[in-house]
Amino acid sequence: MIKVRVEFLGGLDVVFSKQRVHDLTIDAEELSMQGLIDYIVQNLITNKNDVDVFLEDDNIRPGIITLINDTDWELEGEMEYEVCDGDVISFTSTLHGG
């Protein structure tokens, strides 16, 4: 069992039942970021029409920043990162208004 907190910020929560923070307990021995993202798409996006708000060509959509424990996932191995118990994974869409 892996406990992980997932956050959807910058307005992304609209496709996750308007809920910004989701505390998940995932039944797995090991979980990569790829695995977590698959889990999110299957279980947290209620309306399948909305998947393209989150993914584009099976990758996180351009314009969304992914953070692992408040650090850019680029510094942590992106899709290969092994999710640990207690991790906080945040997704924030980039704002453009000014």
Binding site: L9, G10, G11, N47, N49, D52, V53, E56, R61, P62, G63, I65, L67, D70, T71, D72, E74, L75, S90, T92, T94, L95, H96, G97, G98
Partner: protein, 439 residues
């Protein structure tokens, strides 16, 4: 008698000579003492409370501020709070780029302007306030839209640029030009109750906008035709944070040793939070600031880098002319009918609809309509009277989403008699009935 008088005069003369020498010394030494002060006495009084904050470096820090030139692109929600704080702090020269004019709908958040300035250029409105706030600051205005051909000339000579703009296109352009000129950018944005803040191209070694966002967002994915709402003090706080970053950069709080690429995220609701994320450094594969650069000054200035194409634009023109109707025709041929034998469908988000709407219009936001996947049964749950042969007129705020909805109704719901009201609710208000509240 005479000799006594002479003696007195001689004594007095000697005393006067001494005094004269002393005064001369004083007078001679005075100008050099004055020149030792780098600021006027008024400036000492004005900036005293700032200079006695030890981290600013006192007079030395103040002189740095006075010698610096900062360019603010955009005098809107972010620029309005950033500008007076920069002027108040004593930045030597502040440039303002904005070709937009003040509109009543700006004033809930762009509080540097005011109701008497409606219709005036934002950069001129801002300049008037800054000149009154601090006459020591040289304010330069650029009432133009920043583009690939004018950006280099405008940026040239500035030490820092504040990106207070509101489109991905200008964000890429500002970052690209700044990297090519070796300028550090304070970049921020905001929408709704949230805001983001970062520093780009720090010391020509930090990441640029393209390092963070190598691929621009798909314009169709950034929601709908409605410009997003925004809470004034939320975006205002982010603009204020931009001024803090600019001051820190100028007085040298960040050094190449201590600077860490970051992205700060402010959330106003439900609980106010401020989080700073550790971000990637400069990317060697970045096409602007990396090892193999293609975004050069020559490439930008020649127009070779097509920002419009790169960032894309939404294609709303999905209806043919015969699928559309003008607001005046709508009024004459439909709205003035005695019995409403057609369906009027307003596809704006419900919270827009609730602000003001036609009394007999149904409201199904375009997103909800899309999620019905062309099911008449689903549609009839919302509009019980609707049938295959119903005449349907669709409207939204400006006439963009209504075109998408018209397409959906015709192509997916197979309703043949659907028309888009051109220009939407707002054009109806402008051209037909100005007594309806426009927001």
């Amino acid at each position: 008698m005479v000799s006594e008088v002479n003696q007195d005069l001689i004594n007095e003369l000697a005393a006067l000579k001494l005094e004269n020498a002393r005064l001369r010394r004083q007078v001679e030494s005075q100008p050099t003492t004055v020149q030792e002060y780098p600021l006027s006495l008024e400036e000492y009084r004005r900036y005293g409370r700032q200079m006695i904050v030890e981290d600013t470096g006192g007079v030395q820090g103040q002189v740095r501020l006075k010698n610096s030139k900062v360019l603010v692109v955009g005098a809107g929600g972010l620029g309005c709070p950033a500008l007076p704080y920069l002027a108040g702090a004593g930045i030597g020269q502040i440039g303002i780029v904005d070709n937009d004019i003040v509109d009543t709908s700006n004033l809930h958040r762009q509080v540097l302007h005011d109701s008497t300035k409606v219709g005036m250029l934002k950069c001129e409105s801002a300049k008037a306030v800054l000149n009154k706030l601090n006459p020591h600051v040289n304010v330069v205005t650029y009432p133009v839209r920043l583009n690939y051909s004018n950006a280099f000339d405008i940026f040239d000579g500035y030490d820092y640029v504040l990106d207070c703009t509101d489109t991905p296109l200008t964000r890429y352009l500002i970052s690209d030009v700044a990297v090519n000129l070796g300028i550090t950018v304070v970049s921020a944005s905001g929408l709704g109750t949230e805001g983001q803040l970062t520093v780009l191209n720090f010391n020509n070694t930090g990441p640029c906008y393209r390092c963070f966002y190598p691929i621009p967002p798909n314009p169709m994915s950034v929601s709908s035709c409605q410009e997003g709402g925004v809470i004034g003090p939320c975006i205002g706080l982010v603009g204020t944070m931009m001024a803090v970053e600019a001051i820190k950069l100028i007085i040298g709080i960040y050094t190449p040793e201590n600077f860490q690429p970051f992205l700060t995220l402010y959330s106003g609701f439900p609980q106010q939070t401020l989080r700073t994320f550790k971000m990637r450094g400069r990317q060697s594969k970045c096409i602007c600031c990396g090892d193999n650069r293609s975004i050069t000054r020559a490439a930008i200035e020649s127009g070779e880098i097509n920002y419009e194409l790169f960032c894309g634009s939404r294609n709303y023109n999905v209806c043919s002319p015969d699928e559309r109707i003008t607001v005046n025709k709508f009024k004459d041929e439909y709205y003035d009918r005695t019995t409403q034998d057609y369906v009027l469908l307003d596809v704006r988000p419900s919270h827009h609809y609730e602000i003001s709407h036609f009394p007999d219009a149904f409201n199904i936001p375009v997103k909800k309509l899309k999620d019905m996947h062309g099911s008449m049964a689903e549609l009839q749950k919302e509009i019980p009277s609707i049938k295959e042969d119903s005449e349907v007129l669709v409207l939204c705020r400006y006439g963009n989403d209504s075109q998408l909805a018209t397409r959906l109704l015709k192509d997916e719901f197979k309703l043949p008699n659907v028309k888009d009201i051109q220009g939407g609710f707002f054009r109806y208000i402008d051209e037909v009935d100005s007594s309806i509240p426009k927001y």
